[in-house]
Amino acid sequence: MSEVLIKVDHLSKKFCRSLKRSMYYGVTDTLKTMAGVNYGTDTLRPSEFWSLNDISFELRKGETLGILGANGSGKSTLLRLLAGIFPPDHGKIEINGNIGALIAVGAGFHPHMTGYENIYLNGTILGLTKNRIDEIIDEITDFSEIPEDALNAPVATYSSGMKVRLGFSVAMHCEPDILLVDEVLSVGDIGFKNKALSKMEEYKLKANGLVFISHDIEQMRLLSNRIIVLDKGNIVYQGDPFAACVYYEGIMRNNTLSRRLLKGNKLHQKNKSSFSNEIIDFLGLGLIDDFNQIINSIQLNSELNIFIDFKVNELIKNLTIYVPITPESNPNNYCVDMIIEENEGFKLSNIEIGEYRLNIKLKKHNLNTGVYQFGTITFRNNKSFITYNKTRLDSVFKVKSDYKTLERGYVYTESIASINKLN
């Protein structure tokens, strides 16, 4: 077993939601500390919450630890605690080696100082000595790709991308034993981003420890040896990067979309957009299971049963119904577009006045794990080009993850691969 660089033991950190209470607690706590009164920090007072709750993990030499979690799950707080910026409220952190945190780039930059002056300022804040900066200044400026004349001009004249590149270049050349990186790889243009990533890879090879946060799951999976998934301050998963990413995607989808789930009834929904000439009223749609119960999620391998309710107000000679399904993240891009029209054995003409339910069964839906919604449902007469009704609902259904597969794209395939040597 290699050397332990970071050991986090039952670490907890609390914050206060209320500004007034936070002031009150702050003042009383500091006065108590000064008076030498020993007050406990491990219970919650009104308005307080655990930003991190009983976290334990280790980082060993040469390891890269990724931290995944939704916004507000405690990732940045954890990094600040590791960097020693915030004190813990419970538990203990042990750090072996010097630690460098890349939480925000360009710390302390002064807009009137030149690029060069700011490199010295920022580098010193990050803990470099002047001699060391003298040694590496060329590397820093080369890496930042900022031209010489700009480096002699005040930073205020820089574009935001240039500022970030300069700050990032300084931070990347500090070379601490342990580097903490918070979501800063998303900076700069594609070229610079790739360069930053390969610099991170370099760190890994030098057998330093690396802890980093990113929302880019792909990046995370490629860089990390191990991933911690945080949810509301708790570690909910710790281990293999691949499994962690699958797990994270699973909880992300469950968290964010529960309130928009398809209820199976149009009347309870707000229309996103609709058109109707009152010949057909669209009543609603939904998914049902084998027992005719309305559901809002299906399995990867199950059947997809859709029902569409509508009301016909006058005799309709001919009807075609368009039922598109779109990814929730990209609602203008149909991944399925079903056209339901009359065919052999299925009559959709001369429909009399009344209410109807159309059932559509997809034996195999082939939708990948993810969140989907119906596109604009259109009722029209394709022979006389009359549109009766076009309605779009803003609600979604899920294709549940089986927590085993992590496939990209909207189409779920079961493939059998084999490899044969060619002579």
Binding site: A107, G108, H112, M113
Partner: protein, 282 residues
């Protein structure tokens, strides 16, 4: 690996009182380059976007002299007999007073000046305190030179005690910084504190005999002057330099002692609370 660090709840409070002083001193020495860089950033950069630039370091105090000379010649002030030409007396007094005020004002912003990066980077925050001090010393050094020029032009030759000036201002720094450090911590928590403090400090100038001589004033004001340590810390050095004598050396020593003790307590307060309040800098 070279160094091992442990973070625990309330760990700074567990360090002994005198060890705190030692740690603060060590940290400040360790961050001397940082102090220098921040000094450059905050001190030199304030003159950068200005035509006169560093010239303001000299013009500022000169403008002060002009206003006192004008007020004195117009007779709007009744300072009493102060023994030396009034402009010299008041300029030197207010320079020292100004040093106290700027020490206070800048140390009460100790944490605040780093608001942009204090939550992003871990560094020795003592550096901020010493950087603020250094910045004020530069200003005072320049105004001291102007003071000497004014003294000579009014025919007053400063006593040899003027070479002790760097030592004489240390207790002033202690007293100002102790109030400032406490305010800096508390004002990150609540803004009430800095408002109240600035009100009291503006009162303080009236109960310190800076622009007048105490002996001819009403009794309650004399009483205030008597119990105010600033009276001794400011008028002591002033009288030493202007006249070569000090009226109450025993009170002066007592005030130095008080200021030093107060400073140590405030430094301790700052040291054990600063990490706790940084998370509340929102």
């Amino acid at each position: 690996m070279s160094n091992k660090v442990i973070y625990e709840p309330n760990q700074y409070a567990k360090i002994g009182f005198f060890k705190t002083m030692l740690t603060v001193f060590k940290n400040a020495v360790a961050s001397k380059e940082l102090i220098l860089q921040l000094y450059k950033r905050d001190f030199l950069m304030q003159y950068k976007k200005s035509f006169l630039g560093l010239g303001w370091m000299i013009f500022g105090p000169i403008m002060g002299v002009v206003s006192w000379v004008l007020m004195d010649s117009a007779g709007v002030l009744s300072p009493g007999d102060v023994g030396v030409p009034y402009p010299v007396y008041v300029l030197f007094g207010t320079s020292i007073w100004g040093l106290f005020m700027s020490f206070f004002a800048s140390t009460s912003q100790t944490l605040q000046i780093a608001a942009g990066f204090i939550q992003q980077v871990n560094f020795h925050h003592e550096a901020l305190l010493f950087k603020q001090g250094l910045q004020n010393l530069t200003n005072f050094g320049i105004s001291l030179i102007i003071n000497v020029i004014v003294m000579l032009s009014f025919g007053v030759v400063p006593s040899w005690y003027i070479v002790l000036m760097p030592l004489l201002i240390i207790p002033i720094f202690f007293l100002a910084a102790s109030a400032g450090l406490i305010i800096s911590i508390l004002s990150t928590l609540t803004s009430d504190v800095s408002r109240i403090a600035s009100f009291f400090l503006s009162l303080l100038m009236f109960i310190t005999p800076v622009i007048y001589d105490s002996s001819e004033k009403v009794v309650w004001l004399q009483q205030c002057n008597l119990y105010n340590p600033l009276t001794y810390l400011i008028t002591g050095p002033r009288d030493l330099v202007l006249t070569g004598m000090m009226s109450n050396p025993e009170y002066y020593l007592l005030s130095i002692f008080m200021a030093t003790a107060f400073f140590m307590i405030a430094l301790r307060f700052f040291y054990i609370s600063e990490k706790k309040v940084i998370e509340k800098m929102i």
